[in-house]
């Protein structure tokens, strides 16, 4: 089920009413309702893959309990690796089987050996990369004695399958989310209203910004061979806003929806395009994934504690794995490697924690230096997104080659330019609101609080109107494919 569908518009109020009115007095029943609603939500897409979630839930629940009871280090390790192998095994098969097979065959044929292997027509289960990482965090945290296992299967199932964040995150840690399923939730008017506001802003990001930018990004990337360098730059910028609007929009809807049910999810995006360097960008972009990799991969590898070579190695590993997490394509690996190259100079010069505060905090506008830093970081990001969006490495290469040619100085030209101008106006409005609300959890959180009530309602109505007017370019959420 998509957040931006009629189905969800019917589903959400029904579950909400059942949750607060029918099952409110019984925590077990409330959790069971969440499980059933989540399975329905997921099964709406393809019910066959529910078995994967169920299997993953049973395996991690059982292993978690065994891990807690077991004192023998060898057996504990064995249990941990069983969980890792099962979870990553599913992920590897569904997501990477064809990629590895193709590359294996290509590598052998490069050396003159011919190997026969048939790629399989595999459907990638939606959200597998997200819930796999979430359940892995549960087992690893028990192994590290940071968490007690859940003794309530229904609560654990609800934690694994919680519908607002099941298919595209935020990837929650068991230490943060699981305890919320074990305590009684009470309805809080202010939190629920805030949740609705965040949902509204999420829809704006998704429908007005992401879906409309997608139209032009797709048009330009799909016809890049025939377009000028300047047009390709425009295409990359459109994609830059598309991916941010799409993914952070989804996160806002997920977090807002969770708040309606009394749950608190972690912030996933913290205004990354206002970052002053790439290290700050990575503290603000897809926070739940980058902190996951930091805690479960980077730090166990030694983090930045070792020598220079160790730092370089670990930085590359974490960025490349992060890129590969997104999909089975060399473009994602290149995107990860490029970001490692962006990040390394800051790490090696110990400047990676230079910008920990919010840009221009307490001021209306940034100063010239901050503006230049923001623009430089933004352009580096735009350049990296080209690899992320390209069909393959060759596509990315030709795309960049054309940008670096003389056609960069031509006037951009693509279909429906007058409508694109409207979309650019929307992007400007979007950036302005994001800038004004950059110290909050999400941009709209406190905007208009001091205004007259009618003006505030008019402002929200204006946003709803924009969502309606720009809703003609409906697209799927990009991160569903990851």
């Amino acid at each position: 089920m998509l957040f931006n569908s009629i189905d969800f518009a019917v589903f959400l109020p029904i579950v909400f009413l059942l949750y607060w009115f029918v099952t409110n007095d019984n925590l077990k029943l409330q959790n069971l309702l969440i499980v059933l609603a989540s399975y329905l939500f997921y099964g709406w897409w393809d019910w066959r893959f529910l078995s994967l979630i169920l299997f993953s839930t049973v395996v991690d629940y059982t292993i978690g309990k065994s891990l807690y009871r077991e004192n023998n280090l060898h057996r504990r390790k064995l249990l941990l690796w069983t969980s890792i192998c099962v979870n990553l095994g599913f992920l590897g098969f569904f997501k990477y089987y064809n990629f590895f097979l193709d590359n294996f065959i290509s590598a052998f044929s490069f050396f003159g050996y011919k190997i026969n292997g048939n790629t399989l027509n595999i459907i990638l289960p939606v959200g597998i990369s997200f819930y796999t990482f979430q359940t892995l965090s549960y087992t690893i945290d028990i192994y590290r004695n940071k968490l007690k296992p859940s003794d309530n299967f229904i609560a654990f199932s609800a934690f694994v399958s919680f519908f607002p964040q099941l298919v595209a995150g935020p990837i929650e840690r068991a230490t943060h989310l699981l305890p919320q399923f074990n305590r009684k939730r009470t309805f809080d008017y202010a939190i629920a209203v805030d949740g609705l506001r965040q949902i509204l802003w999420g829809f704006f990001k998704k429908i007005v910004i992401a879906d409309n930018c997608a139209e032009y990004a797709n048009q330009i990337f799909n016809n890049s061979a025939e377009l000028s360098g300047s047009t390709l730059v425009v295409g990359a910028i459109f994609f830059t806003f598309q991916i941010y609007g799409d993914f952070s929009g989804y996160s806002d809807i997920a977090i807002g929806t969770s708040r309606l049910f009394g749950f608190d999810l972690m912030q996933n995006f913290n205004f990354p395009y206002f970052s002053r360097d790439m290290a700050e960008f990575w503290r603000r972009w897809h926070i739940s994934l980058s902190t996951w990799f930091r805690d479960y991969l980077y730090i166990p590898l030694g983090g930045s504690r070792g020598g220079t070579l160790m730092k370089i190695q670990n930085t590359f590993i974490i960025f490349i794995v992060s890129g590969f997490w997104h999909g089975a394509n060399w473009t994602f690996i290149a995107w990860g490697a490029l970001n490692a190259l962006y990040f390394l100079p800051l790490l090696l010069s110990k400047n990676n924690r230079r910008n920990l505060d919010t840009v221009a905090e307490g001021r209306f506008l940034p100063n010239i230096k901050e503006l230049c830093q923001i623009l430089t970081t933004f352009l580096l990001t735009v350049f990296a997104w080209i690899f992320f969006r390209a069909e393959n490495i060759s596509h990315a290469y030709h795309y960049i080659k054309e940008i670096l040619s003389l056609s960069f100085f031509e006037i951009p030209k693509f279909d429906h330019m007058s409508r694109a101008f409207l979309v650019c106006l929307m992007i400007l409005f979007f950036i302005s609101i994001e800038w004004l609300g950059r110290t909050n959890q999400y941009a709209l959180e406190k905007i208009g609080f001091k205004w007259n009530k009618n003006l505030r309602i008019l402002f929200y109505f204006g946003i709803i109107l924009l969502i309606f007017l720009f809703s003609g370019s409906e697209q799927e959420f990009i991160y569903f494919q990851f």
Partner: protein, 314 residues
Amino acid sequence: MKHFLRKTGSIAIIFILGLLCFILVVHLVVRVTASFELPKNTEFLIIGHSHPTFAYNDKLIENTVNLSSSAESYFYNYQKLKEVLPKNNIKAVFIEYTNNQIIQKMDDWIWGYEKLNQFLPWHSSFMNNEDLKFLLKKNNSDFIRVISTSTLKNFKRILTFDYSIGKKFGGYKKMERTSTAEELRKEALHNPEIKDSIGISDNNIEYLQKMVDYCSQRNVNVYFIRSPQHQYYVRSNERQLMAIKIDKFKNIDLLDFDRFPLKAKYFADAGHLNASGATIFSNWFNGLLQKGLLTQKSKEDFVKKELETVKKIK
């Protein structure tokens, strides 16, 4: 909790009503202010899909406006005609009548999302309830989706004072691409559009009938035309096409330029003339009108005879 439900419920109702009012007002303003006037000397209209769009260069044909538009079904042709005809002094309307306009695929050209999104925003302000209901019935989810596109388009029109719609409804377009006979032959082998078609779009034909009736009511002459198509164009439903013509439109003349003798190099593809082809054909068609095509007793015979002359010249 109850306070939350009461408050969100009432705000939701206010917002929904506000949205509905906005949609209605935008469409109403455009409906009232739109102008469909064509150049004053316009006597003849050409209406149809991409075949006439690329075939009739109306700059070369006197007193004629080509309002055809690519991929436009009779349903939207009718909407266009309904607005343009009463506001202009039109003597005759030429409607494209060719092989692919009767096939089942045309249903998708009426209510499929892509075409709905392309054409409904042009016509939504002016369509009558019956036709709106028809689209809603056939594809309610996409129809609702397209309302937003329609409202945005019309809102943009209001903001930019762009109310002169008539000529923007369509028009001659040129294609520079040229083809070789071999390319067209290969294209014919892979043309699934008509070959695989077994069904007929009764809906589209019904709206052709509506156009004919509408013109008759206003005493405007209607002629069917078939734009030039290359010999390799797939016409496997030719018998069906002619059977429908005889059965439903017996009194309408079909001015058939299907076999207008042009070499492959004058075609962009088997169904569409390129710019050079359109220039030759439009000049010839203009000549035909000047020779009094519309005053002939048997217009179909006249066209046939004239076509034979072309053959002799070429």
